[in-house]
Structure formats: C-alpha cells, structure tokens
Symmetry: D3
Subunit: 133 residues, 6 copies
Amino acid sequence: MISRLLAPKTTVHAHCDLPCGVYDPAQARIEAQSVKACMEKYAASSDHDFQARAVAIKEERSTLVKEHLWVLWTDYFKAPHFEKYPQLNTLFNEATKLAGAGGTKGSNDVAVADQLLTKIDEIAEIFWETKKA
Amino acid sequence: MISRLLAPKTTVHAHCDLPCGVYDPAQARIEAQSVKACMEKYAASSDHDFQARAVAIKEERSTLVKEHLWVLWTDYFKAPHFEKYPQLNTLFNEATKLAGAGGTKGSNDVAVADQLLTKIDEIAEIFWETKKA
Amino acid sequence: MISRLLAPKTTVHAHCDLPCGVYDPAQARIEAQSVKACMEKYAASSDHDFQARAVAIKEERSTLVKEHLWVLWTDYFKAPHFEKYPQLNTLFNEATKLAGAGGTKGSNDVAVADQLLTKIDEIAEIFWETKKA
Amino acid sequence: MISRLLAPKTTVHAHCDLPCGVYDPAQARIEAQSVKACMEKYAASSDHDFQARAVAIKEERSTLVKEHLWVLWTDYFKAPHFEKYPQLNTLFNEATKLAGAGGTKGSNDVAVADQLLTKIDEIAEIFWETKKA
Amino acid sequence: MISRLLAPKTTVHAHCDLPCGVYDPAQARIEAQSVKACMEKYAASSDHDFQARAVAIKEERSTLVKEHLWVLWTDYFKAPHFEKYPQLNTLFNEATKLAGAGGTKGSNDVAVADQLLTKIDEIAEIFWETKKA
Amino acid sequence: MISRLLAPKTTVHAHCDLPCGVYDPAQARIEAQSVKACMEKYAASSDHDFQARAVAIKEERSTLVKEHLWVLWTDYFKAPHFEKYPQLNTLFNEATKLAGAGGTKGSNDVAVADQLLTKIDEIAEIFWETKKA
C-alpha cells in the first residue's frame, strides 16, 4: 500500500464533469474491495440463491470499478501525464479489462480480484505522484 | 480530520447488500467535497450556462452523499451501536438533511457544504471507533 | 373515476428534493408488495432460471423500498415529528434493514416480506397522522 | 392502520417484469403530482437557481410518469383489454406525450400538468374496471 | 433487412426529450441483437454462474429494447403516422411485450429473440418510410 | 462516412459484459448527433428555460458518448489491435475528453460536437477494419 502511505492523509477525492477537480483512486479501490469480498462470501457459501446474489452484486460492483477508472483516465490525466508515464494507457486498459468479462465479472477467483487491486494501486501511485508534482 | 488520523491507513471501504461488509465514510465525504467544489466554481464564474451546470451537478452529488450515508445508517450500524451512540440517529438525519433541499441542494453557500463535511466527519469518527472495537 | 373516489382525498404523494412536498408511503408499500409477490412466484416455480430472475428482481425492488423509506425519513419528517414520535428513528432503521441483506434481499420467506409490510404500515399510520395535524 | 383502512383494499400496486403482477396507476399519478408541484413552486419563486432546479426536477419526474405509464400499457394491458377499450392505445400515447417535450417537460404551465393528471385518471378508471372484471 | 437497405446510409439516430429530433430504430435493434447473443451463449455454456450472468444481462438488455421502442412510439410517431399506419400501436405493443416477461426476459429460446428482431424490423421499415415522406 | 460504407449493411452492434460480442460505434455516434442537435436548438432559442434544458440534456447525452466509447476501448479492442493501431489509445482518450468538461459538456459550440463526431468516425473506421480482419 505504498500509494496510500505517500498520499496526503486528509484527502478523499472524487470527480464530476463540471469538473469539480476532486478525484481519488480510492473510489475504484473501494468497489474492487467489495468485488473481492463478494468472491470470498461466494466461496464460503453453499446456498445457491446467496451465490447467485454474490455473482450479481459482483457484476454491479465491477462495473463501478470500471466507471471510476475510466473517469480518472479521461478526466484527470492530461497529455503531459501520458508523456511522463507512457505505461498509463496500458495500465488503465488492463485494469478495466480486469474488472470486465475476462476479469472479475467472469470469474469467482479471488486471485483475479487481487490482480485488479494491484493494478489500481499502481494507478494510484502514479496519481498521487502527479498530485504532488 | 481526526477521524482519518484514527483510521487504519490502508482501508478503503464501501458496501453492498450482499453484504460484502466493506464500508467507508470516505465515499460520502468524497461526494461532499465535490459538492463544495461545485459551489466554489459556481461563485467564481459569471457564465450562466456554467453556473447552471454547477447547480445541476451539485444536485447529483448531493444525492450521492445522501445515498452513501443512508447505507451506513441502515446497513453498517446495528442496535448495539445505536445504544452506545444515542446521537447517531439524529446525526445521520441531520447530515442527510444537510445534503438535501434545505442544505447543499438548495444553497450555493460554501458554509453549508462545510457543515455537511463536519457532520460526515462526526459520523466517520464514530464509525472508525466501532471498527476498532 | 370510481377508484379515485373511494380513495382518501389526500393520497398519491411522492417526493423530490426541490422539494415538491409530495410524499406518500404508498410508494414504499407498492415495492414491498412486489417483493412479496416475487417470493410467492419463486416458491411456486421449479424453473431454475425463473427463480434466479425472481431473486434478482426481488433485490432490485427491495432497494426501491429502502430508497422510498429513506426519503420519507430524511426529507418529510422534521424535528417536531421525531419529538412527538420517539420510535420513528428505530422504526425506519428496522424497516430499511428488513428490506436489506438481513431481510427481504437475503430471504425468500414470505413472512419476512410481511414483517416489512407491517413496518411500512406503522410508518404510514404516523405519516398520515402528521398530515392531518 | 387508519390510513390503510380508509383506502380501497385493492390499492398499492406496482410492477416488475418477473412479472410480479403488482400494478397501480397511482405510481404515475404520484409523479405527475410532483411535476405539477414543481411548476407551482417555479411560478412562486424569483430565485433563478431555484427555478433551474424546478425545471430539472420536473424533467426527471416527467420521465418517471412516462416510465410508469409505458409499463402499464405494455405489461398490464392484454389483447382483450385493447378490444374492449379501443381508446386505450391513443389514451396512453397522448398521456405519455403530455409528459414529454410537448407537455410537462417543455412547459411550466400548470394547466398542462392538469391535462396529464386527467389522462392518468382516465387510464386509472379503465385499469380498475379491468381489475374488477 | 429491407428497412436498412431503404435507409440513408449515413444516418445514425437517437433521441432525447428536448427533443433533439434524432431517432433511430437501430438502438432497439442493437440491444435485441445483444439479447439474442446472450441466449446463444447461455445455450453453449454449462457453467451455472455464466448462465446466471447471461440471464441477468439478457434481462437488462431486454429492458433497453423496451425503452428505445417506447421512446419511438411516444416521441417520434405523431397522430398522422398512426392514421396512415393503423397497425403501429399494436406493432409497438407486441414488440415491447416480446422484450418482456412473456418474451425475451422469460425465455432463453432464440426463436423468441428472432420474433422480437422481426418486429423491430417492421417498425424500422415504417420509421424510414416516414422519414422519407 | 467512409466507415459506414465499408461496414456490412445489416449489422447493428452493441455490447455487454457477458460479453455478448455485439459492438457498434454507431451507439456513440447517435448520442453525439444528439449532443450536436441540442447545441443547434440551444442556439436557435431565446427561451431561457429551454436553453437550460438543452444544456442539461447535452450533458446527459455527452455522458452516454463517453460510456459507449469507454466500452469499445476496454471491452472490444484487444492487445493486437493496440499494436496494429498505436494511435488507438490517444484517439479514445481525446474522443472521450471531447465529450467531457473541456468538450461538448462545457461548450455550446457546434464545432466542438463536429470534432467529437470526427473522432468517433476515426474510431469507427478502425473498428470496422478490425471486424473484417
């Protein structure tokens, strides 16, 4: 959790297209944590209806992960960021794919959620570096 | 920001009605920060269309504040919490009112957003105390 | 307009955060009736896909129950109401919990839906008393 | 339960596409009442931001009127109903148009909201006749 | 696909209640194609969770089909159209029913999706005729 | 409209995260057309409330443009596409920015909508090339 340690303690940031200028990768991470928790609860249950709910809610929360990441990619990051961090585009594309059909939507494997969380942390680390710059 | 200092550094939490067990008052705070930023941008602008967008987006973000707070109130807090913190119900009722028509929806006054942020911080402080318990 | 003539004159109320001043507990009750009906249809079916749809739609309708109740609690009821009806906070908290994970979302038991309906009726009774006051 | 005792026994109905079989024109009427109230509050105000909010919320509530009516038209009413009430299609088409750009969305005239309410009442009357049949 | 052949090649049309005047039956057709694809993937799979996701996503996409069709019926088509094409009301009512509980929501049978697509094509053909008129 | 001429005549494509495999840049283009139409109607009107509605609906439709483009970028395009078309990432980032605060949301200038439409057409041309491959 290097990115969190580097971050200012009091910031909690988000977005809107005014733009309000408030962004925070924590929003994506929170939903990804929820995705992972749904997988864990799915695995721990043998109640079919509960498992169906876990899959459905995981789908919904994965969508929110994608939304929050897309907003950061389009609305927060600017041309100079992409020059300085040439891996940014691929990072975002892979992270959002990891929250989609080939990732946490299509899988109940906690390892996939962990990969997603790791990608979000990589994005967060760059994000907080740019905020300090 | 006492509540943030007291909080574990790495946690970023949310919710769903599985329940996934992931909650974090930061979600409400992020949106409230956005509400405040919309008010500031509204005040700094003289472009009528921009101001209309600021008001509309502030409305939307205020609704999200209410949503996140309602979820905490209903889904995270249990009977023993309400016994230990008898002010909780009123705190949540006032906080959500502060994000409504008589609060940040009906006003462009940054002081109202600050009152909302203060209420959220009071809630957050109790929240993190209960997480440590 | 026979149906309307039979109905109490003050009915059909809702809300918005203008606020428009139009509220009616019927909105929550309608969705709760739908929740109960989904449970009954779930029980009467042996088609797995149909049952999955019933669970998913029940989830969605339970969320709507919560939404309508939260709006009443925050937007309609004011400080004097909470003084006069000290049970209001607990009533709303329990009712919304009954439409959540520990209630109609997590259960297919019609008795749980009935408990939810009873709570909504208790809220409605207080609501209509305050409207007459 | 005084309020419920006064109400017709068969009321509080809604829908979902399970289908749950719960329908009630009151849902559309409630939103239309809200539309009308927004117009009245718009007219009574001279605060530009408040008026903008009234227009925006009226837009949203008008959309909900359309939604509820469309659901009744498609999901509740069946071929025999359309045979018995040949005016039904036109009634629904006109009612939904009255909640659109040429109706309550494009106008702040309370008379337009009243026309919409009248159409909804005509639909409700037929609806309740079919429920008794 | 007669309707597509008759249509201007470059038009891609939609709607909003401004109204923007941009409509295109392609929006409903795209979602109906997705509904059909979900059914095909459902049939080709034996993974229970995947099938549950297919059913849930099919439900969502079917709802979008209904939405797009309702908008065309209410917002694009006017009284003269209904006079010239007396089958229009029934066509829309049947098409939206085909995307509901008795249609693609309640069934995994690709033949039902094909019936829906055929209805949409019939609507599209009339739509493009009226655009040329 | 080279991309449309190159495209198979009968395809109308969309998406979902099953994935259903149905994609079509037309969805983004339709909403962008609507955005442009809102600007034109805004310019042609002197009714303040109508203009406010135009701005609000333009905001909503711009969001839909972003959504449809993000889905294509994450869900349709794969690693080999990004290798073959190295401009893809920038193209999508610029297109979605053009539908945001610095683009069609923040501006009423039809030229901005035209730039957005041009970007979407560039994306569509690549999309259809990859479909033929």
